[in-house]
């Protein structure tokens, strides 16, 4: 029996801020506002239509005040980069239950230029201040690096296999004019790039950019009267199983194993139904682990799954088709940009170009937040 909430709401608008990449003359909240207005334009809706606000990083009152919106529904779920993927599920739920009509999810970070951003250094009497900060782990890279080391130990995963992800993702970025890094790279380039935190070289790590993004949802019924081809939200799942990396129950199996299962079950689709995947790539290992946890391959076989450029353009598993956080943009909490690209692929926005995944009907979007701490998985479908 299909889930009664499945497919009742749709994504109707997506957009970046006016510029992304290096935007030293704009504050983080300004990037929120630009993306919000652009996404509403994309949908053919007005700010006055918005009655629900979702954000992370900033508080919903901060963003709503700046925009001049007085929402009847507010959701400030803040679980790092996965927040915005989780917001999609929460918005779809609220819409399906009649609690709001037009949901606006906004993101904006001046990750590179640090204009209007808060400090993230933990206070010395907090849990991270007492039990993690004193040992000099650069966060978040060191946390992901330690999880990756354990995977290499347990399953023989290699740096060459991790590099396959960076190389394939760059190929997609080369077709995206908005991508920050577009020059082709090879596996040897990844392995010889500057060492950041073993086992990660520079090209195993996401970019640090300035960018905003926004997503607009409404009911499927209303969506069909708007500008864009609706993209239905078929299923969603969320989970977290730790905050500190030293408390992660299993460094080689994260909360994606829970959020993914819930999303697939709710949508009533199987892995073979997925035409396109947008998987949070803060680091190469993030992707490898997530593909295993979501069940696209068996535990320990993520390295083999991504080898031979299987996720590159023309490969059997099109993934991160805008260039991901590794090559397109990553201001800090990237999840919204995965939602945007999954939507654009399913709308067939790139029809007639090699970037379009042919006949894409169903996609999976997955966000990872914190230090592999929190995940959100959504299944989207072209109406």
């Amino acid at each position: 029996m299909p889930n009664p909430l499945s497919g009742r709401a749709a994504i109707v608008g997506v957009a970046e801020s006016d510029q992304i990449g290096q935007v030293p003359d704009k504050s983080a909240i300004q990037l929120h506002a630009e993306a919000a207005l652009n996404a509403l334009d994309d949908a053919g809706l007005q700010l006055s239509d918005v009655d629900a606000v979702f954000t992370a990083g900033f508080s919903t009152p901060e963003v709503a005040e700046y925009l001049g919106v007085v929402p009847r529904y507010t959701d400030n779920t803040s679980v790092g980069g996965s927040s915005f993927v989780i917001h999609v599920g929460h918005a779809a739920n609220a819409i399906a239950n009649g609690l709001c009509s037009v949901a606006l999810i906004t993101h904006g970070e001046s990750g590179r230029s640090r204009v209007g951003m808060r400090s993230i250094t933990p206070q010395p009497n907090t849990i991270p201040g007492q039990y993690e900060a004193p040992w000099g782990m650069p966060s978040p890279v060191g946390a992901y690096a330690m999880a990756c080391t354990r995977h290499m130990h347990q399953y023989g995963t290699t740096k060459e296999q991790l590099a396959e992800i960076a190389v394939a993702t760059r190929k997609w970025a080369s077709m995206n004019p908005k991508a920050y890094m577009r020059d082709p790279i090879e596996i040897a380039d990844v392995l010889s790039s500057r060492m950041i935190c073993w086992p990660f070289n520079l090209l195993d790590c996401c970019l640090v950019t300035d960018a905003g993004g926004a997503v607009v949802l409404t009911s499927l019924e209303r969506a069909r009267d708007l500008k864009q081809k609706p993209v239905k939200v078929m299923g969603w799942g969320e989970a977290h199983d730790h905050q500190l990396i030293s408390q992660m129950p299993n460094l080689t199996a994260g909360p994606a194993q829970y959020s993914g299962k819930r999303a697939f079950e709710m949508a009533g689709v199987s892995h073979s139904d997925i035409d396109v995947a947008e998987i949070y790539d803060s680091f190469t290992y993030t992707v490898l682990l997530t593909l295993e946890d979501l069940g696209f391959c068996k535990k320990g076989e993520g390295g083999a799954f991504v080898s031979g450029q299987r996720t590159a353009p023309g490969g059997p598993f099109p993934m991160n088709t805008h260039g991901g956080g590794l090559s397109y943009t990553h201001p800090g909490m990237y999840g919204i940009f995965a939602v945007m690209e999954g939507t654009r692929q399913l709308r067939h926005d790139y029809e007639g170009t090699p970037r379009q995944v042919q006949d894409a009907e169903i996609g999976v979007v997955h966000g990872t937040g914190g230090v592999l701490s929190a995940t959100g998985t959504i299944i989207l479908a072209r109406d």
Binding site: N125, P134, W135, V141, I196, C197, W198
Partner: protein, 143 residues
């Protein structure tokens, strides 16, 4: 030539009241952890309740200071100038024999992945490193 600038101090914990016995035990060179009187599991980091069973009845108990290297990374860059003079070094997680895992540094080894990978799941023991008059940090070395 300019004089070498001294690095700023590293961030040190400011123990919350509940955790004082833990930090005191490190100063004494005899690590204690909380153990749940109800389910008998050890608890780390120190808490007001057992995350395994919800009991509030936690008691401090001396532990061995021995465990196994669970994983590591080797930072070659760090945003804080406090850590930059030490780069590269080994940040590690150790699983104590009592079943809890903690963040630490592995000391007495080269920051060389080829030498460190074979040490995973192999025994390590605590080294008490005095960081200030108030704080001793637990670090670990291979046995």
């Amino acid at each position: 030539m300019s004089e070498p600038r001294s690095a700023p101090p590293k961030p040190l914990p400011q123990p919350e009241p509940l955790a004082k016995p833990y930090w005191d035990s490190l100063n004494d060179g005899a690590m204690q952890l909380q153990r749940c009187a109800s389910c008998e599991k050890f608890v780390f980091y120190p808490r007001a309740m057992c995350p395994h069973c919800g009991s509030r009845d936690l008691q401090w108990q001396r532990v061995s200071g021995r465990g196994k290297l669970h994983t590591f990374c080797i930072p070659h860059r760090h945003p804080s100038p406090a850590f930059q003079p030490d780069l590269p070094y080994v940040v590690a997680q150790v699983e104590l024999d009592e079943g809890v895992r903690m963040m630490t540094n592995l000391v007495g080894v080269d920051p060389d992945p080829a030498k460190l990978m074979p040490l995973i799941d192999k025994p390590v023991e605590v080294v008490y490193e005095k960081a200030s008059d108030q704080i001793t940090l637990p670090k670990f070395r291979p046995v």
